[in-house]
Amino acid sequence: MTPGLNHYLVVSALLFCLGLFGVLARRNLIVIYMCLELMLNAANLALVAFSRFNANLNGQVMVFFIITVAAAEVAVGLALIVALYRKRQTAHVEDLTSLRF
């Protein structure tokens, strides 16, 4: 049996939910960030599948844009997390408590 569009979409949706679960459940900023990347890549997988099965290359173009933007986001995001670690000696979300009313 060759995998069809639906197989790819199910895998993509599973990856997305896995990433979302990680963002909500994990407490380490780096792990949360990895889960966010997983969500973006779930979308990439679905885009490539749609592109292949609908014979429309626009989806693959979009994938390139997403990869580029994600790379920029990671560069800035990791720098921010490092800056926070230097300041606070922690990368856990429970410790982000200086902003309260």
């Binding site: 679905a46 626009n58 844009f65 933007v69 986001e73 995001g77 300041k87 982000l96 009313f101």
Partner: protein, 495 residues
Amino acid sequence: MNSSLLVIEFLVALLGLGVLLADLWIAPSARRTLAYVATTGLLLVFTIHAGALAPADGTAFGGMFLVDGLANFFKSIFLVAAMVVLMVSTRFADRLNGYGEFVALILFATVGMLLTASANDFILMFVSLELITVTFYILVSFQRNRLSSVEAGVKYLIFGALAAAFMVFGITLIFGSANSTNFFEIAAKQGELAKSPVFLIGLLLTFVGLGFKISAFPFQMWTPDVYQGAPAPVTAFLATGSKAAGFVLILRLAYGVVPELSAKWSHLLLGFAVITALYGSFCGLAQRSVKRLMGYSSISNAGFLLLGIAAANDTGSSAVAFFLAAYVFTTLLVFAGVTVVTADGETDDFSAFGGLGQRSPFLAAGLTIGLVSLAGVPPLAGFFAKFWLFKAAALRVADDRWFLVAILAACVAVVISFYYYFGIIRAMYWPRHTAESTPVEPSIPVRLAMVTCIAAVILMGVFPGGLVSVARQAVAGLGPATAPAAHAAPPVAAH
């Protein structure tokens, strides 16, 4: 390729690169000149944009990029907001390490906003929104040596990336069901797409991403924290430019791309609008930090604006455009005052504003006008903006009783917000205990920016007619029937 349409964006991007280069040669003490140069440059771009040299309406890059009335209207807003923010930020320059980069980043964020105003394709929409968001990650945490600034940056990063992930997945589903990412092509087949559940889920997820940008309930969690932690000029830009960028896309999607669906979903939008407005008003009551309070005020105003989107009529779309123009000037005015006060003192607590009436009468007067306009007292801009939005919703009361409930709830939100806006004014003129007595002196660029904002707020309130007709023209091209027919044809001929 009709790339001459992008002349405004090119010029601002070049200006940003020029500032980045010039920063290498300029002595650290003279970095403030970069902001003056950038403001002058933006003023030149603005004259091009508003004058005869402006690009004519049309599309470029295979229909991805669109210049129309709505785009031009919002581009004016973004350019003005960037100019005011730059001028005000000169007062903050001593507290920002690497001020040259700060100026360049503001300019790059402006390019992103200009592109969102012209986005006519989900790909360009995503990339330009990310250009704004990633730039703001850096801007929010620009005071690296202050823990609250870095913490606000990390919070914005996590929520921003989450919203981006939802939006990307939404766009994927839209692409999958419509087999296109172009707004016109999707608008042309919205009837059959409305029956596809994949398309509907995709659209909802895209609105999640936009809801984050405009800080609508339930995606508003980041707003108070980030507003409080970010440097004051950045908060000002976040509250005006970034929010308006979200709303220009919501306007375009709701009124131009899927008007039939948004009319069908108007109860959903109405519900979110009311909850957002009430949430912002109630939670603002207990605040002692002025920047945090402005965060809740921003949430509350997003609720009022969503009311105009939910109304789904011509009055609604033009009222949203008018409200945003008025809101940008009003908010910038308030934040100009907040910037000066927080640049001198460590805190933005109510006590830092204590006795400002004596310490700087000009600053206190400017802040008062801004806050009174935000509260919606006639004859200032904020009053007319709210009035028109409520009128747009009132026009729907006849055929839908729920709009009456929504208007009443929004009025409650307005009345509650009176309490906290006037709390700041009371602290300025009738402080409980005068903690500070050192006079604060706004510099000349800040004065200039504030006088411009004050004039705009008063003029828009007293003579709203001019801006009303401009706003009406801006949204005129958004109609469901006209958009694809009027604009889709030129790109084919241009290639």
